[in-house]
C-alpha cells in the first residue's frame, strides 16, 4: 500500500460578495489530480503560486474537504477519518506564521507535544533531540518573536516532527529564507529522507526539487502537466538549447519579434537586478544567436550565454504550455 494515494481529486472554492446584489465567484483550484507516494519517498509538487499545491496538502492533512475524488493517507480517508490521519502525519508550512510568538520555543514545543500525545516520559528527551536536530540549542528559551525567519522555520520543522510522524507534509518550507537559511532547511529535509521519512514537499524552487525529490509532479492551473523523476522532466527539453541574453529595458514588441524568429520554440523573460534576461529555447542553439541579436539591435545587450536546459527550463516549458 502506498503512503499517499490520490485519485481524481477536485476542489472548488466559492466566494460571495455584496449585500444586496450578491455575486458568487467560483475558482477551480484542483481539476482531478491523481498520484501516489510510496513509503520512504520524497515526492515534490512543483508549481507557480495559485497552482493548487497548498490546496492538495490541505486536503491530505485534513484541513480542507475535497469537492470530489478520493484520497488515502496511510490507508485512511482524510475527509472522513481525520482523527486517524492527524496523529500519523506532520504538517509544516513556510513563512512567519504558525507559532506562538510571545512564547519561547520550548513552550511552543511543550504545548504541541501535548496536543500530539507525546508520552510525558518521552517529552523532555524528544524536545531536546529536536532542538538539537534543527540547530536551536542555546536559543530555545528565548521568545520566538526574537527569532530570524530561518530559526522560525527550523522550529516549525521541529514542531512537525514532535510525534515522530510517518509522513511529513512540507508546504514551501524555504519560502522567503535567505540562501544560507534555505540551504540549512534543505539539509534537514535531506537528512529526514535518509532517515526513511515519507515526505510530500511543495516548492516553486526548481533547484530545490531537483536536489531533494525522487519524483515530482508539475502542477499548473489545478491540473498535473507532468510527473516523473527530475531526469524525466529534464529529458522533455533535452533536445533544446537555451540562449540567455542579458538585456536592459527591452520593449515587449522586441520580445515578440524574438518569438517569431525561425527555430525559436519559446521565449521567457526573467528580471535579475537591473537587467532582463531573455531566455530563448530552440533546437539549434548557438547558430540562432546572430538572428536573435539582429532583432535586438538598438537595445542595450550584455552577456550572451548558450547552455543545456535545466529542470527550471523544463518547468517553464511545462507550465507555460499548460
Amino acid at each position: 500500500m502506498a503512503a499517499i494515494e490520490v485519485e481524481e481529486l477536485t476542489r472548488t472554492y466559492r466566494s460571495r460578495k455584496g449585500v444586496f446584489r450578491r455575486t458568487t465567484t467560483v475558482v477551480e483550484a484542483l481539476k482531478g489530480i491523481s498520484f501516489e507516494v510510496e513509503r520512504g519517498e520524497l515526492f515534490g509538487l512543483l508549481g507557480p503560486n495559485g497552482a493548487g499545491k497548498t490546496t492538495t496538502i490541505k486536503i491530505l492533512t485534513t484541513l480542507l474537504l475535497p469537492s470530489s475524488g478520493s484520497a488515502r493517507v496511510l490507508g485512511f480517508d482524510p475527509a472522513r477519518e481525520a482523527q486517524k490521519v492527524r496523529g500519523r502525519i506532520g504538517y509544516v508550512f513556510g513563512g512567519e506564521r504558525g507559532l506562538y510568538d510571545r512564547l519561547s520555543a520550548i513552550h511552543n514545543l511543550q504545548y504541541f507535544a501535548d496536543l500530539y500525545r507525546v508520552p510525558s516520559a518521552d517529552k523532555r528527551r524528544r524536545i531536546a533531540e529536536l532542538v538539537e536536530l534543527v540547530g536551536l540549542t542555546g536559543r530555545e528559551r528565548e521568545r520566538v518573536e526574537t527569532y530570524s525567519r530561518g530559526m522560525r522555520q527550523r522550529l516549525h520543522i521541529a514542531r512537525g516532527l514532535l510525534h515522530d510522524p510517518e509522513i511529513l507534509f512540507l508546504d514551501e518550507p524555504t519560502i522567503g529564507l535567505d540562501p544560507i537559511g534555505a540551504r540549512e532547511i534543505r539539509e534537514t529535509i535531506a537528512g529526514l529522507r535518509q532517515a526513511g521519512k515519507t515526505i510530500l514537499l511543495t516548492t516553486h524552487y526548481m533547484f530545490e526539487a531537483d536536489a531533494l525529490c525522487g519524483r515530482l509532479a508539475v502542477i499548473a492551473g489545478g491540473a498535473f502537466v507532468a510527473t516523473g523523476t527530475p531526469a524525466d522532466l529534464k529529458a522533455a527539453v533535452a533536445d533544446r538549447t537555451i540562449v540567455e541574453i542579458e538585456t536592459f529595458g527591452v520593449p515587449e514588441a522586441t520580445i515578440d519579434r524574438l518569438r517569431s524568429v525561425v527555430g525559436v520554440t519559446r521565449v521567457a523573460v526573467e528580471a535579475r537586478d537591473q537587467a532582463q534576461v531573455v531566455l530563448v529555447q530552440s533546437a539549434t542553439g548557438a547558430e540562432l544567436v546572430p538572428s536573435l541579436l539582429r532583432e535586438l539591435e538598438g537595445s542595450a545587450v550584455g552577456k550572451v550565454v548558450t547552455r543545456e536546459p535545466t529542470l527550471e527550463d523544463a518547468y517553464v516549458e511545462l507550465v507555460g504550455s499548460a
Binding site: T62, L65, Y91, G95, L103, Q110, D114, Y116
Partner: protein, 254 residues
C-alpha cells in the same frame, strides 16, 4: 486529552500574560466596572444593593473577559496561523478550544475578585461574605459555567473570520438577559425563561447567595448542570463548525 486540556490552559494564560496591553486592560477594567456598580446602577444610594451591584458588575466583567478573550484569542490564532495547527491536532477539537475559554475564565475570576476589592477600597462596598466556603466553591463553578458558554460561542468564532467583532456584540445581550446590568424583575416577563438558560444568571446568583448568606448550593448545582449541557452542545457545535470551516476553507485568513 486531559494533558492537552491543562497544557492548553497554561499556554493560553502564559500567552495572555506576555501581552502588556491585555494585562493593563485587566488591571484597569475592574476599577471601571466597580465604578459602574457604584454610579451607573445608583447603588450608592441604597447600601443594601451595594454588594449585589458590585457582584453583578464583577460577573459582567467575567463574562466580557470570557467572550472577548476567547473571540480575540481565536481571531489572533487565525492571524498567526496556529488555528489550522490546532484543528490538525489529533486530540478532540473541544479539548483544544475549551482551554482558551477556560483560560479567559481564570483571568475573569481574578477580575471578579479585583472588582470586589476595588469596590471595597474606593466605594466602601461591604465585603462581608456570609458563607466563605460556598463563596469559594461558587467562583470556580461560575468560571466553569461561563467558560463553557464561551465554548459554544467559540464554535462560531472558529467558523467566522470576524470573530472578535462577534465576541464584542455578544457581551451586551447576556449582560441584560442574565440580570447583571439591571435586575430581572424590571425586565419584560419573557426575559425570565431566557435567563434560566444562561450560565452567568446562575453564576451571579450563586456568588450573591453565598455572599449574602442565603442558599447558594442549588445555584451552584445549576452552574454545574448547565456546564455539562453546554459542553455537550459545544462539542457538537465545534464538530459541525469545524466541518463547515473545512468545507468552506475558512480556517485561515489568506
Amino acid at each position: 486529552m486531559i494533558r492537552a486540556f491543562f497544557s492548553g490552559i497554561r499556554i493560553h494564560v502564559l500567552q495572555f500574560t506576555k501581552n502588556p496591553f491585555d494585562v493593563s486592560g485587566v488591571l484597569l477594567w475592574p476599577i471601571l466596572y466597580a465604578s459602574i456598580a457604584y454610579y451607573l446602577l445608583d447603588a450608592k444610594n441604597d447600601p443594601s444593593l451595594l454588594l449585589s451591584a458590585s457582584l453583578g458588575a464583577a460577573v459582567m466583567l467575567m463574562w466580557s473577559l470570557v467572550v472577548i478573550g476567547s473571540s480575540g484569542a481565536l481571531e489572533h490564532q487565525r492571524w498567526q496561523g496556529t488555528l489550522e495547527l490546532l484543528v490538525a491536532a489529533p486530540v478532540p477539537f473541544a479539548a483544544v478550544i475549551a482551554p482558551i475559554t477556560i483560560a479567559s475564565g481564570v483571568v475573569g475570576a481574578y477580575a471578579l475578585l479585583a472588582t470586589l476589592a476595588w469596590g471595597t477600597l474606593f466605594f466602601e462596598v461591604p465585603l462581608a461574605i456570609e458563607q466563605p466556603l460556598a463563596f469559594v466553591v461558587a467562583i470556580p463553578a461560575c468560571v466553569l459555567a461561563i467558560g463553557m458558554l464561551g465554548l459554544i460561542m467559540a464554535a462560531t468564532f472558529v467558523f467566522y473570520r470576524a470573530a472578535f467583532a462577534l465576541g464584542i456584540a455578544m457581551q451586551y445581550p447576556v449582560w441584560i438577559a442574565a440580570g447583571l446590568l439591571v435586575p430581572l424583575s424590571v425586565l419584560p416577563d419573557w426575559v425570565g425563561p431566557v435567563s434560566w438558560f444562561l450560565a452567568p444568571t446562575w453564576g451571579f446568583r450563586a456568588i450573591q447567595e453565598a455572599a449574602l448568606g442565603r442558599t447558594p448550593w442549588p445555584d451552584i448545582a445549576m452552574c454545574l448542570l448547565l456546564s455539562a449541557i453546554y459542553l455537550v452542545a459545544a462539542t457538537a457545535c465545534l464538530r459541525g463548525f469545524e466541518r463547515l470551516a473545512r468545507r468552506n476553507g475558512t480556517l485561515q485568513l489568506t
